[in-house]
Symmetry: C2
């Protein structure tokens, strides 16, 4: 089998990117948003790269989501003019937030009257606010059924000329626990229905009109009719990963990144290959398979056009700081030698990208992330 | 209570370092090694910083351990002349290894005849080799009882003029599963006894004299008489962390790093504070307490001299990419406001340092890590 020449030069754990797959994932999601008539505001925390951001711009994207003030400043420097920081306001970063609000159309998330009061006193430019709603995930945000809480924050926003209440926003992270079409669809329907109920209560209390923003990767990928929402904010879909594949959100051949890891040891009697590739490359994220086994990644062989299918019966059973332990079947152990590269399909591409901070494309180009 | 002025300027998750604690940890371990008459070859992967390396030099350290070729090159540039890369040789990095071997006294780990053959053919300078031994941990290395395997590798080394077999090396990572003095001591005794048996077999086969190298942080911290070994290589002890405290390897007031995290939300009815501080700052490493609860970190309040004791009943129950969820008792929720900082004692300081890549000392200095 021919093997792509980029692999000749890879010496240590390296994040390999298949640009065609990533671009196809972007196109497909943009088309889904268009069919649904919703704004596509992709989350850029997954790729963190201005160069990859341009692939989204080519697909018609104008509005983006980020997860930190620093990331917003980075993408503002690269020409993005409509940015949502999808993380409840950290009031200690008010100076940087003011700098941002002076440059771009800025959307911030709030979930308490105290934070709104602080913004009203300290913001020097107008911003749009979204109520961060907990629609069942249980991480953070105002509970969707807490009408008193929602209206108290909305009321506080209405006191300030600089603040505009734009809508309700949630991250339905509970789809990451769902498996299969019906389960993800059920979480999505419930999420949208709860957001709509919260919006209705706010309308009744005199606040509105208000938009709804949703859009985790599983629901955005798997639900055809997204329902009565105004925008979606998926991020992970640009690369997908082993967890999304397990959920059912992507096909295996839509996964666009893998970490090339040198094999440093073979322990045939233990059905084990040891990889140079550990927690500082892949993260400690794991998923649990149907047998209850923790899986820290799958392995594939390098090929002329990237990497082959997931090797059957091969998965990472653990990672320490630099080591990855690959449970491998006998055929793989026979075929693979010390010094060969294996491609590890990440469990969670966002965390792997954040650790490796540089992409090597199949053409040999290097793409850096946010600096 | 007075609060150190560095906290006034901290706006986002920041790694705070108490230099006095780190220096005391170094002195204490150096004294332990001296009492035992063993070489102290600390693992620099924990701190990854040339500036902190100087604190070790001040304590008399001349030989160091690192976990990658890149880290070896970095510390070689900063004047370290005797370096062990405690990770089985990755033959794809032979060029960089040759560059290193030309500059410093280099120790490499091997666990297969194939890798030794490769080194014999491609190394351009002499190096010392250590047999990487699995003394029970089960990650990688030649099994301590596999006399045929050990002698095969030793025999291969003896064929080359450039290669010198220096000894047997193990990482007894199984002490991380142990809790308490007796358990850690038992693992250490068994490890040393197995290494000694492997050395005896090699001596019988005509190889030697050979040194023994051990020294995970729990055993190096907790075992007073380290036994018949020649060097120890602990790393984590310079900062310690919540896991070492749980094992019993340190007192809480020996933990030298904590991550300052802004509070972004309070959910009193759920006994929850939400922190800006997640998987990209703290890592996804967790430990399990005696009730089976997963703990991603403990919280403390900022004080004039760093941070106070661990807040009772307060621990991180989960992290997503940027969020940390802190289960907090009623008193803490009453005392802490949105915008305040909490200090998170990391579960695993090596991974937190690797993610945050910069220290803020209590004096306000900034110390960078390897670039």
């Amino acid at each position: 089998m021919t093997i792509a020449s980029i692999y000749d030069t890879i010496q240590k754990p390296t994040l390999v990117l298949n640009p065609n797959r990533a671009k196809a994932n972007i196109e497909k999601m943009a088309a889904k948003a268009a069919r649904n008539g919703v704004r596509f505001r992709p989350h850029f925390k997954t790729h963190q790269s201005a160069a990859i951001g341009e692939w989204f711009r080519a697909a018609g994207v104008q509005a983006i989501t980020v997860s930190s003030v620093d990331m917003a400043l980075y993408f503002a420097r690269h020409g993005w003019q409509d940015i949502t920081i999808a993380f409840s306001v950290n009031i200690r970063q008010i100076e940087a937030s003011n700098a941002l609000a002076g440059q771009v159309s800025l959307n911030l998330l709030v979930e308490s009257p105290e934070t709104v009061q602080f913004l009203a006193e300290h913001l020097t430019h107008p911003v749009s606010l979204w109520l961060k709603v907990d629609a069942g995930y249980g991480r953070t945000g105002l509970n969707w059924a807490d009408v008193a809480g929602l209206t108290a924050v909305a009321h506080e926003i209405a006191q300030s000329d600089r603040l505009t209440l734009r809508g309700l926003l949630t991250h339905a992270g509970d789809t990451y626990q769902a498996r299969g079409q019906a389960a993800v669809e059920a979480v999505h329907r419930e999420t949208v229905s709860r957001l709509a109920a919260a919006r209705h209560a706010l309308h009744q209390a005199g606040f509105g009109p208000l938009e709804l923003s949703v859009g985790d990767t599983p629901a955005s990928s798997m639900v055809e009719n997204l329902g009565d929402v105004d925008e979606i904010r998926p991020g992970n879909f640009v690369f997908y990963d082993a967890m999304q594949w397990q959920i059912g959100a992507c096909r295996e051949d839509e996964i666009a990144v893998a970490t090339a890891c040198p094999v440093i040891a073979k322990h045939s009697s233990q059905n084990k290959l040891v990889l140079y590739g550990g927690a500082v490359h892949l993260s400690k994220e794991f998923m649990v398979d149907s047998q209850g086994q923790r899986i820290f990644g799958y392995a594939a062989l390098p090929t002329a056009d990237g990497w082959g299918p997931r090797l059957p019966g091969c998965y990472l059973t653990g990672v320490s700081q630099e080591h990855g332990l690959l449970h491998a079947n006998a055929e793989t152990i026979r075929r693979v030698n010390i010094g060969d590269l294996l491609l590890v399909l990440p469990v969670h591409s966002c965390l792997t990208v954040n650790l490796l901070r540089e992409y090597r494309t199949l053409d040999g180009d290097i793409i850096n992330i946010e600096e």
